[in-house]
């Protein structure tokens, strides 16, 4: 169905939105849904950056350029699969049922952003992971549980190209191979780890080829190409759910933003590189392809963008209107039951932060 090799990048859409191979009729609905999500997340992301600039959000990691691969992840995961994200997976989290205001809460310095809704597929997903690579071994643990229980589920874990340098990456692929875990490791190879370019991160020709060390399958796919990503993840997750073992997927993308709002990428990368990368960016490319095939038009675009605007604004309003959590939360959720040793601290904290006594 599609080429899967570590050395060649599976692509469906040319950079100008021309189809290498047109999808069947039954595929358009999913692509349109995917496009809608990508457009929504792009708006969300832009507004989140602005919120940070106006002091209403903390440091924020933009997902600009990652819309296709993260949306594909959300579209291909089943509700009972497991998702173990890193911090650029806003689209996937959204599709897993994490509310946009929660994503803002998280970056706004509020742990409640990790308390995903009880009725969402995300309810068992792990929270964002900031220490690079540490989510990988955890995902192997989640997959061990899935296998142990004979579930027909898959675990998807993501990380960046930088993360592949950490030992965790190797330890995870290795155990996934030897235990035949239902684990898919999806690398968002956006070419940069903050200021360090991919070529200074590793001498391997591709990241996909690192699968060889663990004796598992690995292949490369165009991460700016939603249909190609859907191919890849459908294939991989399905295999995992059927007990056929772990796969490493390298999704080729480009970090179109600064690393985070605390970063200034112009210090270390050329404007011309960034400009070239914009030519390959996923949202416009997919829109082109849909328009070209007669499945999307200017009116639909306008209406959808207006909808996105409203939806994002509502999320922002809701985020900004949420009263702060009580300071005592920092102790109350640490242990299942507050140990007696912490009672006095809790009382002090409560008194200091509410300024009064409670019954």
């Amino acid at each position: 169905m599609f080429t899967r090799t570590p050395y060649e990048c599976h692509t469906r859409l040319a950079v100008d939105g021309q189809w290498h191979a047109r999808p069947g009729d039954d595929r358009w609905a999913r692509l349109i849904e995917g496009y809608r999500t990508m457009a929504l997340i792009r708006q969300f992301d832009k507004k989140a950056v602005n919120l940070q600039r106006t002091g209403k959000l903390g440091t924020y990691a933009s997902c600009l350029g990652a819309e296709a691969l993260t949306t594909a992840a959300g579209q291909t995961l089943q509700p009972d699969d497991y998702f173990v994200p890193y911090y650029r997976d806003q689209a996937t989290q959204y599709l897993r049922g994490v509310r946009l205001e929660q994503i803002l809460q998280y970056w706004g310095g509020d742990e409640r952003g990790n308390d995903f809704p009880a009725d969402a597929p995300a309810v068992r997903d792990l929270p964002n992971c900031v220490p690079i690579g540490t989510q990988l071994t955890q995902a192997a643990g989640v997959a061990t549980k899935a296998k142990q229980r004979h579930e027909h589920t898959a675990v998807l874990v993501t990380c960046g190209d930088g993360a592949t340098s950490r030992g965790d990456f190797h330890e995870t692929l290795n155990v996934a191979g030897v235990w035949q875990l239902p684990l898919i490791v999806l690398v968002n190879n956006n070419q940069w780890a903050i200021s360090v370019p991919r070529r200074l991160q590793t001498a391997s020709r591709t990241i996909a080829q690192k699968a060889e060390a663990a004796g598992i399958e690995g292949f490369q796919v165009d991460g700016n190409d939603l249909p190609a990503m859907l191919d890849a993840l459908d294939y991989a997750l399905d295999r995992a759910r059927h007990g056929k073992g772990a796969i490493l997927i390298e999704a080729m993308s480009y970090r179109l933003s600064d690393h985070t709002t605390a970063d200034d990428a112009s210090r270390y990368r050329k404007a011309s590189d960034l400009h070239a990368a914009w030519q390959r960016e996923p949202v416009a490319r997919l829109r082109q392809a849909l328009v070209e095939a007669g499945h999307w038009d200017g009116d639909q675009e306008k209406a959808w963008l207006e909808h996105c605007q409203r939806q994002v604004d509502e999320a922002i309003d809701s985020y900004l209107a949420t009263p702060p959590a009580p300071a005592t939360d920092m102790l109350d959720y640490l242990y299942a039951n507050l140990p007696p040793a912490l009672l006095a601290q809790r009382a002090q904290l409560e008194q200091r932060t509410t300024g009064g006594h409670h019954a």
Binding site: E111, P131, T134, T137, A139, V142, Y333, Y335, P339
Partner: protein, 335 residues
């Protein structure tokens, strides 16, 4: 002081490593979510035989030999624990536990907190620790203080077969992550009756092993035995020592510690780890702030020297012996 509601009729004699093994067997039989993992723990039954027979009894899906990677063992355990399993991981020696710290600090001990209760992390990491068995380099450490300061991580150290069984069962049942450190020097010291199905022991209480009035000897792990021996010697000299087994370093049972000093006015804290930055400091600090007026003498700390545990030719010179404990106790009385 703690009364353990154990039925003596079911008590059978075990040494400490047998008590670990029995607790694992019983916990796995009682709850199928309990799984065991580590290096050499399945087919080989663990290098100390703590996991012997588990693979045969519960199969390789619940008793897993892992690839050789401690960071992996910790991460696997975190992942499993967030999804409802109760992993009990063995780190072969405490000297090889440091690669687990990132997962323990940044994830295990915080999972419940950072998800505001959505996920939890009920894992247990077991590791044999301490010196005195003539082992090679890196096999004799006591770095419990590294862990005792991690908020959200419980640190438990037994010092007898019965407490090993009762505390390990409690640790496995506990909804919080627990580091369970086993003083390997006394793994096979003596067989004592252990009640298999007694109540689990509390994870935040000291054990008062001997009541006394003149001086409080405070310790944990293998050093409890030198401490008890010191209490015996002191008794011969007409000095009544109270012996407290701290047993849980985090959370710490400050009440019992303050109560004993309120009574005796004198404290000797004993541990194998170096004094500087060792956990004895936390206890001494607690006494100095919360029981200052009761202190009739400076708090004494009898500890290893401020160096890594030497290779075994010199290790006995580094570990506190009964003589040093007795001398310190007498100093508090002569003050």
């Amino acid at each position: 002081m703690l009364s353990t509601h154990q039925q003596p009729d079911t008590a059978i004699p075990m040494n400490m490593v047998e008590a670990v093994n029995q607790a694992l067997h019983d916990a796995m039989a009682a709850d199928e979510d309990v799984v065991v993992l580590g290096e050499d723990i399945a087919t080989n039954g663990g290098v100390f035989r703590a996991t012997e027979g588990l693979k045969e009894a519960f199969g390789i899906r619940r008793v897993m030999d892992t690839p050789l990677a401690e960071n992996l063992i910790a991460g696997l355990s975190v992942g499993m624990a967030t999804q409802g399993l109760r992993p009990v991981a063995e780190i072969q020696f405490m000297g090889f536990i440091y690669a687990t710290l990132e997962q323990l600090i940044s994830h295990a001990a915080r999972m419940r907190n950072r998800t505001r209760g959505r996920l939890s992390c009920p894992l247990v990491i077991r590791a044999p620790f301490g010196g005195g068995i003539h082992a090679p380099e890196h096999h004799s450490e006591s770095t419990e203080a590294l862990f005792a300061q991690i908020p959200g991580l419980r640190v438990v150290i037994p010092s007898s077969p019965a407490r090993t069984y009762g505390l390990l069962r409690a640790a496995i049942d506990c909804p919080d992550p627990v580091l369970f450190l086993e003083p390997k020097r006394i793994y096979r010291l003596q067989r004592l009756p252990v009640a298999r199905h007694g109540d689990p022991l509390p994870l935040d209480r000291c054990f008062t092993l001997r009541a006394g009035t003149d001086v409080s000897l405070i310790s944990w792990g293998a050093m409890i035995h030198e401490t008890l021996a010191a209490a015996d010697e002191l008794k011969n000299d007409g000095i009544s020592a109270e012996v407290i087994d701290v047993a849980t370093l985090n959370p710490l049972d400050r009440e019992t510690l303050i109560a004993t000093i309120t009574k005796t006015g004198r404290a000797v804290i004993v541990h194998e780890a170096p004094g500087h930055g060792g956990f004895g400091g936390e206890i001494a600090a607690t006494l100095a702030s919360d029981a200052l007026l009761h202190l009739r003498a400076p708090v004494e700390r009898v500890t290893g020297y401020d160096c890594p545990m030497p290779y075994f030719a010199l290790e006995q010179q580094c570990m506190p012996g009964t003589d040093r404990i007795v001398a310190a106790a007498k100093r508090t009385l002569e003050y």
